[in-house]
Amino acid sequence: MDIYQEVASNVEQGYSEKTKKAVERALAEGCPPADILHRGLIAGMNVVAERFKSGHMFLPEVLSVAGAMKAGMTLVKPLLAGTKQSSFGKVIIGTVRGDMHDIGKNLVGIMLEGAGYEVIDLGTDVRADKFVEAVERERPAVVGMSALLTTTMLHMKGVIEALEQKNLRSDVKIIVGGAPISNNFATEIKADGYARDAGSAADLVRSLLKTDRHGNPL
C-alpha cells in the first residue's frame, strides 16, 4: 500500500488521528500536497460517498469519515492556499425565508464538504437579500436553496430574481431541493438543477461545474 492509499484507507475508516499521521508522513516524504488531497483524502471520501449512496453506509459513519478527511485537510489546505487546488469551489447553502427546516440542508452541506467543496451555510429563514449579499461577498460557484414548505418554496424564485437584478445570476449555478420541490419546479423558476436527496447533491454540483471527482475539468 503506497502512502496515498494509506491516507485514503484511513479516511475510509473514519480514523482522524491515523489520517493526520499518514498525511504528515506523506508531506515529510515530499509528496505534493495536491496529490495528497486528490489521491488520498478525496479518493477515500469518494469511496465512502458511493457506499452511502448505494445504501451500504449510514450517515453517522459518513460523518466520522468527513471528520477524518477534515483532519487531513487542516494539514494540506494551508499548503494549497491561493492555488486552484485549495477547494473544488465554493458553495453557498441556505433554507429560504420563512422556513426553519435545516436538517436536509445540513446533510447537503456535509456531502458537499466531503466531496471537496467549501461550504458556506447561511442557515435557515434566509431572505433573498442575504443570499445576494453572500454571493457578492463570497463569489461562490454554486448557490443551493432548500425549502420544506409549499408556502416557502416560492421564495426560491425571489432569490433568483434578486440575483438577476444585481447581475449576479450568470456568475453562479443555482441548485434547489426539499420535500415539495421537483425537477419541473426547478425548471420553472430557472434554477440550474434539482437534487432529490443529499447524496445526489454532490453529483449535481459536479455535473453543473463540469468537473470530475477530483475537481478536474471534464
Binding site: P60, G98, L107, D125, T150, P180
Partner: protein, 466 residues
C-alpha cells in the same frame, strides 16, 4: 405545578383504538368514548403568504374545509375533527392565524346548523421560537407572538390547543445525524422536558382563560426526523426506534403539566402516553402517506381515538381535491375500526393491525401493545426526567435485542452492530442529571442558550439511575 404519573391508566385488554379512560367531550363530540373519529388536516399548495394574498388564502381554507365537511355529510360520517396547523407566517402575524380560524369556524358552524355535522377544531400554532439561533425559548418577540397566536386563535373559535414544540431540537438535530444517544438524551429529556414544562404550563393557562382544551404535543421534530432519516437509510431503524421511546418521556410532560388530550397526530409516542395517561390520542398511519412515509401504517391505528392524514396539499387529483380524497380515506378507515368494535372484534382487529407491521421494522416492533406497556412502566418509574430517559432507552435497546435474537423482529443485516453500539453508549452515561449536564453542556455551548432552559421549575428531586 407538574404532577407525576406513577401508574398506568390502561392494561393490555383496554389499550385499544377508540377507547380511553378520560374521553374529551365538547360541543356534542366525544373523543375516546368508543369510536375512532377522522381528524383531517390540509395545507396550501405553493402560495406566497403576505398581506396581499390573505384574501385568496382564507378563501382557499374555506374551500378546503367546506370540501371535507361536504364529503363527511355525503358519507354519513359524524362527527369530524379538523386541525388548522398554522404556517410560520400565520404565527408571526397572529392576526392572520386568527382570521383563518374565524373563517374555518364559520364554515364548521354552517355545516353543524345545516347538516347536523358535529365537529371540533384543533388549532396548532407553529413553534417559531426556533427562528433565532440559538433559539430563544422563554423570552423575545417570537415567544410572545407564539402565546399571542394561541390566545387569539382560541378566542376566534379553536376548540383544542396543540403544538409541535421544538425544545431541545437544536441539540437533537445534529445528534440524530450522528446517531448519538448522549445528544438525544441531552436534547430530549434534559432540554426538551424542561421546555415542555414551561410551555405547557402556559398553554394550559391559556386554555383555562379561553375555555378551550389543552390537547397535547408531539416530539415530531425529534422522533419523526429520526424516522424519516431511517426510512431513507441514513440512520439505523433500531436507533430511530430507541429515539421514539425516549421522546415519550418528553411528550408526557404536557400531560403532567395539565394537558388532557387528544394528543397530536404525528406523535407516534402517543402509544405510550395513552397507556400512561388514559387520555385519548390522535394517530396517523397508512392514510398519512400523502405527507410522509412510515413503517407504522397499520400498527399506529391500535392507539387511535382520532385517525389523521397528517396533512395534504390542496391540489386536484383525478377524483377531486386532495383534502376531500384524504377525508374519504380516513372515513373508510374509521368505519372499519368502529365496526370491529361494535361487533366485539376489537381485540382481534388490534391483533391484525399489530401482526401486519410489528415484525417487519424495529420502529413498529416497539409499538406492540405488550412492548408499549412494558416501556410505559419504565417511563413512569421513580426518578427525574434524565433517569426516566436513560432507563427507557436501555429498556428499548433490551427489547429490540431480544426481538432480533428470537426472530420476532427483522433486524436489517447492516444494523446488526448498532444494538451493541447503543448498549455501550448507554452504559457510559453518568448516574445523575447533574453529572450528565456537567459532561454535556460544554459540547453544546453556542448551540444552546442555557438561560432559556430552567431546570429547577419542576421541583422534582434528582434521581439516580438504579
Amino acid at each position: 405545578m407538574r404532577k407525576r404519573y406513577t401508574t398506568l391508566a390502561l392494561d393490555s385488554a383496554s389499550l385499544l383504538f377508540g377507547r380511553s379512560t378520560h374521553p374529551v367531550i365538547r360541543n356534542g363530540v366525544t373523543i375516546g368514548g368508543g369510536a375512532v373519529i377522522p381528524e383531517i388536516k390540509f395545507t396550501l399548495p405553493p402560495t406566497d403568504i403576505n398581506e396581499g394574498s390573505m384574501a385568496d388564502i382564507t378563501a382557499m381554507f374555506e374551500d378546503m374545509v367546506a370540501g371535507v365537511c361536504k364529503r363527511a355529510v355525503e358519507l354519513h360520517q359524524n362527527p369530524i375533527v379538523v386541525e388548522f396547523e398554522l404556517l410560520p407566517e400565520m404565527t408571526i402575524n397572529p392576526g392572520w392565524g386568527e382570521l383563518i380560524t374565524v373563517r374555518l369556524r364559520n364554515v364548521l358552524d354552517d355545516f353543524r346548523n345545516r347538516d347536523g355535522l358535529l365537529s371540533l377544531l384543533r388549532i396548532t400554532p407553529v413553534d417559531i421560537r426556533e427562528l433565532q439561533k440559538p433559539p430563544l425559548r422563554r423570552s423575545g418577540r417570537e415567544t410572545e407572538l407564539l402565546f399571542d397566536s394561541f390566545r387569539r386563535c382560541a378566542r376566534a373559535g379553536g376548540d383544542m390547543l396543540s403544538i409541535e414544540s421544538t425544545g431541545g431540537k437544536e441539540v437533537t438535530d445534529p445528534s440524530i445525524m450522528a446517531a448519538d444517544l448522549r445528544g438525544i438524551l441531552f436534547g430530549t429529556v434534559l432540554l426538551g422536558c424542561a421546555d415542555m414544562e414551561f410551555l405547557w404550563g402556559r398553554i394550559c393557562a391559556i386554555a383555562r382563560e379561553t375555555s378551550t382544551i389543552a390537547a397535547g404535543d408531539t416530539a415530531c421534530g425529534i422522533g419523526n426526523t429520526a424516522m424519516v432519516l431511517a426510512d431513507q437509510g441514513y440512520v439505523p431503524k433500531v436507533f430511530a426506534a430507541v429515539v421514539r421511546a425516549v421522546t415519550a418521556v418528553r411528550s408526557l410532560v404536557a400531560y403532567e403539566a395539565g394537558a388532557v388530550g387528544p394528543g397530536k397526530d404525528c406523535g407516534y409516542e402517543n402509544a405510550f402516553l395513552k397507556a400512561i395517561t388514559g387520555y385519548p390520542m390522535s394517530m396517523e398511519g397508512k392514510s398519512a402517506a400523502c405527507a410522509h412515509f412510515s413503517s407504522l401504517g397499520n400498527i399506529a391505528g391500535v392507539y387511535a381515538d382520532l385517525w389523521s392524514n397528517e396533512s395534504v396539499q390542496h391540489i386536484k387529483l383525478l377524483s377531486g381535491m386532495a383534502p376531500v380524497v384524504s377525508m374519504e380515506q380516513l372515513i373508510y378507515d374509521c368505519r372499519l375500526f368502529n365496526v370491529a368494535s361494535k361487533k366485539g372484534f376489537a381485540l382481534n382487529f388490534r391483533d391484525m393491525l399489530v401482526d401486519s407491521d410489528a415484525r417487519l421494522d424495529p420502529q413498529a416492533f416497539i409499538l406492540k401493545p405488550d412492548v408499549v406497556l412494558d416501556l410505559s412502566t419504565t417511563i413512569i418509574s421513580d426518578g427525574d426526567d434524565y433517569v426516566r430517559g436513560v432507563r427507557t432507552a436501555k429498556k428499548a435497546v433490551e427489547i429490540l435485542e431480544k426481538g432480533a435474537r428470537t426472530g420476532e423482529m427483522l433486524l436489517p443485516e447492516r444494523e446488526a452492530g448498532w444494538i451493541e453500539r447503543m448498549k455501550i453508549a448507554l452504559e457510559e452515561l453518568p448516574p445523575s442529571k447533574r453529572e450528565f449536564f456537567k459532561e454535556e453542556s460544554d459540547r453544546w455551548q453556542g448551540v444552546v442558550d442555557f438561560s432559556q432552559y430552567e431546570f429547577s421549575e419542576s421541583g422534582i428531586e434528582e434521581g439516580i439511575i438504579g
